[in-house]
Amino acid sequence: MKAADIITARTPEWIALERDVSWLRQTRGRRLDPDRVAAFARRYRAACSDLALAMAMRFPDGTIDYLQQLVADAHTQLYRIESFSILAWLRNLLVAVPRRIVADPCTWIAAAVFATLFGGGMIAAWLHPGFAADVVGEGPLSRVEEMYAEPSDGGGFTAARARMAGFYVFNNAGIGLRCFAGGILFGVGSLAVLAFNALFLGTIFGHMLAAPAADNFAEFVTAHAPFELTAIVLSAGAGLRLGWSVVDTRGWCRRESLRRTAPEALATAGMATLLFILAAAIEAFVSPAPIPRAVKTGVACVSGLALAAFLATGAMRRSEDGRAE
């Protein structure tokens, strides 16, 4: 038997396997014709043995390269994990994610860093009139002052608010995702973004609350504050978790530890992004709306309580699990 004969005889099967692979790529997730899947598996095994034969018998390089690629492609299609159920996803979101957030020291470290710098910035700006200008800069600070010089505009839904909603989503949620991603550098990126934002926001808060427009400012920031401040803390917490997994590997190699932790951190970052988007909607449509201040305070209370309840369920589940063990 010559090499040429073997290759000529097997080529139709290989081409059929190639077709099967592109067919499987296109019909991802749908119900598949079982006969064809069985034929695909058989062809794949046959191609595996052809590759073994080709390598052992030193077939021409082109043939071996081709078979390597073919087997690799088919392998990628044959062995895959695709178990997505909406129920499992919801359970994960409502039970596993809050439990992890509450149990994770990274969350609390991020919260502590944020609270310290925010509070520090606020007190410093409150006590020293020059501090805010040093931190934020003269120009931006006067723009902030201008923004809140007048009470929020009257009228109902305005297009300007829709524009601002888009801007808040793009800007704030983008900062949150960048804050999370920066965590992979041993958590340094997350901490830097978190610290900068905490100090910046705290300083502006302190400055504005001492300014003549304090009322306008307080009225504007109340409604969306719980979601937005929690979101930035959660983003940084997720980033810290990512970075810390490289430092404390719990017995895995660093790469493996990172790979195992990353999906958990991703879920937290996803949660934070959701909160950023909700906060953007509130910030654009509720905060500047000409409605009684009590309503805005109510929104803040409800959103804050909802968040607390969400996290508390996680914490309670955890203690139940602890007892069960």
């Binding site: 090499a3 000529t8 080529t11 043995s49 390597q68 392998h75 300007a160 909603a165 888009g166 991703l266």
Partner: protein
């Protein structure tokens, strides 16, 4: 007769990843390096920019630059900017448009298809990987044997070359004049490798070049066998290759 052991050939010091499947066959993925991946990234970024520039231009032409549209536009920009890569890689099986153009594909580091969480993770972390001035992703690729950027490390993925393939041409061997190979001559593995490489490339060579290359082996072999220098070295080499393959298949000629 010719016992050819595939393990004595050193694995090339190359950008490949060997995966052993449950069928106990080891196959290679060819890994994609920073240059080609950088080009794919730039293509994707240009595509997104062109898309949004097109939308802006169209809206401008129609005169509907209402502020509400700006809001929708920014929300869309946010989702596309952060989600484009992940969505493409989930839907198109590990390829974005840029990757498809350059023949790249993202797969799990064990050779499996990637799942949505992996796709989202590696695309979110790109924000860090392309951050100047140090470009951590490039540094990471240089430091890992699988050429993974940080997003790949976290998601457990690799980027492989997946160029469109051509079905192999059966080696076209010269109409072999019978080669007088002395009985008992063993084709050493390294010689066999050289023969296979020659046979797979000879179709692309001019007759003069075939003579030259095949002559290197054929003249020495014939001298060793105590024969005259061959008239057609190409035929000798092809004949020897066929004979060795046949011998290996267990059919003595």
């Amino acid at each position: 007769m010719a016992s050819i052991d595939s393990t004595d050939v050193a694995r090339p010091l190359d950008t490949t990843l060997v995966v052993v499947s449950p069928e106990n066959i080891a196959f290679q993925f060819r890994l994609a390096g920073p240059a080609v991946r950088g080009v794919a990234f730039v293509l994707d970024a240009l595509l997104i920019l062109a898309l949004f520039a097109g939308v802006v231009f169209a809206l401008g032409l129609l005169g509907v630059v209402a502020e509400a549209f700006v809001g929708l536009f920014l929300v869309a920009l946010f989702f596309v900017w952060w989600g484009y890569g992940a969505a493409c890689e989930v839907i198109a099986n590990g390829r974005t448009a840029g990757k498809a153009v350059l023949g790249l594909r993202v797969v799990g580091q064990t050779g499996l298809s990637i799942n949505p969480a992996q796709a989202i993770l590696r695309n979110l972390l790109r924000a860090v990987d392309v951050a100047p001035p140090f470009f951590p992703g490039v540094v990471s690729m240089a430091c890992t044997s699988r050429l993974q950027r940080l997003g790949d490390l976290a998601a457990g993925t690799i980027v492989v070359l997946d160029r469109s393939r051509q079905a192999p041409r059966p080696p076209r061997v010269a109409s072999t004049s019978p080669v007088a190979v002395p009985p008992g001559f063993r084709v050493e593995p390294r010689l066999m490798e050289a023969l296979a490489a020659y046979v797979s490339r000879r179709a692309d060579l001019s007759p003069a070049r075939r003579r030259e290359l095949a002559g290197i082996a054929a003249v020495r072999l014939c001298a060793a066998w105590g024969q005259l220098p061959p008239e057609d070295p190409d035929a000798v080499v092809c004949g020897l290759y066929e004979r060795a393959i046949a011998a290996d298949a267990g059919q003595e000629p």
